[in-house]
Amino acid sequence: MQRFINDPDNIVDETVIGFVKAHPERVRQDENNPRVVISKHAPVKGKVGIVTGGGAGHEPAFMGYIGKNMVDAVAVGELFSSPTAKSFKDAILAADGGAGVAVLYGNYAGDNMNVKMAKKMAKKDGVVIQTVVANDDVCSAPIEEREKRRGVAGEIFMWKIGSAKAAQGASLDEVCQSAQKAIDNCRSVGVGLGPCTLPAVGHPNFEIEPGTMEVGIGHHGEPGILVAKLGSANDIADQMVKIVLDDHNLAQGSEVVVLVSGLGATAVNEQYVLYARMQEQITARGLKIHKAFVGNYFTSLEMVGVTLTILAVDDELKQLLDMPTDCPGF
């Protein structure tokens, strides 16, 4: 493995330490739980706390979205593996400013179970908790079973919008409604061109034959809906936009926010090449792009691939999305 690693078993601990050392003006590590990273500003008395968490290896997600008007505390799991119930609980306690805590996380079995247990634990401490579960990954289940879909890069919008709402002084109910609206308005798709390797395993845990691509790939290499011949950037962009928008079913003239994220080992210029075409296709469908993000926002170790996320926005979501933030991820 041509990688920068020490002991594969310590990668996550070292990542968190490096992150906290790099951003000391924004974050701190929980004193008693090294797997909980907390905003320097948290808890804010009277503000709804925003918590998220998930497996590591998606940097800058999840920690990178801690900051002003953003997430208050993050629970960090092993690579591609849910944080412990205890870490979720500690994050909840750290974020609690007395107005309740919104746990905004992604729909993975491990996260679901650990958050469920954490909720039980934190309730004993008197914290009021609500959860919103991201399920923006179109190819992970048919639309009729949307509740089974996984959460991917759309989580960033869910955090941004939920956090901005909380910063405005909204109640826990209101925060969760806005976060829910954000994720309901979100659709994502991933395309993989090359696998990633968990350092402790030492070889890729899935294969993508040279000359092919995995359409609908998940954030951990979960197989997609189709293994196709590797197309041109334009072909791929067309397919991704089609998958997302066919599922989205937006009215002509709708406004959208677009996020293209590299998965870790895709050159940034290729992401812009894709965006050039996606923008054409999206506007050709009668949609108006309010804002776009292109870069490594939510990665999967050193996977070669990209995700496309399209969020439909109304005035409320636009305003929340445009609220200034200061976090390492943006």
């Binding site: 497996g55 092993e78 593996s81 650990n114 845990n205 951990h220 290499g221």
Partner: protein
């Protein structure tokens, strides 16, 4: 003998942990076929730490299971933290305070384990999970005890059925977890969790057999 001592039974959990650590690469490899390839890593980390913490502790079986459960729940996370964490927590709770564990109590313990896993994970028989091994093993043990067989004979039945339950996952389509989205593509591969569960049940049974 018709029962074994709870006291000192912690060594059985140390043996279970060692087998899991030994099978780290293998468990990850099968998880990689239709999952994300980390099952062995997750399991070895949790069970390995438990083995370290239990070494020379001379704990009872329930104490050892509690230690393992705590480590899984508070240090491992993933799916295994809650699933095996709850399984061992509920099994420990079932035998806590008991000096001797006979077949009836052992069956209660297994049943508590199954319930714990189902309560937190919501999966059922046939979903291609560790439950397909765990439930098959428990049912075989229950049937054997009901048939008036001795503890040790029933444990052999348990071990055999754990293997059968594990192998039964090969032909299943995953209904839950990461592999669920694969549909037909998930058929033909043994489930990783069922494989680790089969290891656990076999070593656990062997440990009891040695003590009967």
């Amino acid at each position: 003998m018709t029962s074994f001592k709870n006291a000192g039974g912690g060594d059985i959990i140390i043996d279970v942990a060692k087998i899991i650590v030994e099978n780290k690469a293998y468990l990850s490899e099968i998880d990689g076929k239709i999952g994300d390839g980390d099952h062995g890593v997750n399991m070895a980390k949790g069970f390995g730490r438990a083995a370290d913490r239990l070494a020379d502790s001379d704990s009872s079986l329930d104490e050892a299971m509690s230690v393992l459960s705590d480590i899984l729940m508070s240090e491992i996370g993933g799916s295994m933290g809650p699933l095996y964490g709850m399984m061992f927590a509920d099994m420990a709770e079932c035998i806590e305070g008991q000096d001797d564990i006979d077949a009836a109590l052992f069956l209660d313990m297994l049943t508590a384990g199954v319930d714990g896993v189902q309560e937190i994970g919501g999966a059922k028989l046939g979903d291609k999970t560790l439950l397909d091994c765990l439930i098959a093993a428990k049912e075989a043990f229950a049937a054997s005890v009901e048939n008036g067989e001795t503890f040790d004979v029933s444990l052999e039945a348990l071990k055999e059925s754990a293997v059968v339950g594990r192998d039964g996952t090969i032909d299943m389509i995953a209904k839950i977890g990461r592999a669920a989205r694969l549909g037909e593509r998930s058929r033909g591969v043994v489930d990783a969790g069922a494989t680790s569960c089969c290891l656990i049940l076999n070593i656990l049974s062997d440990g009891v057999l040695k003590r009967l």
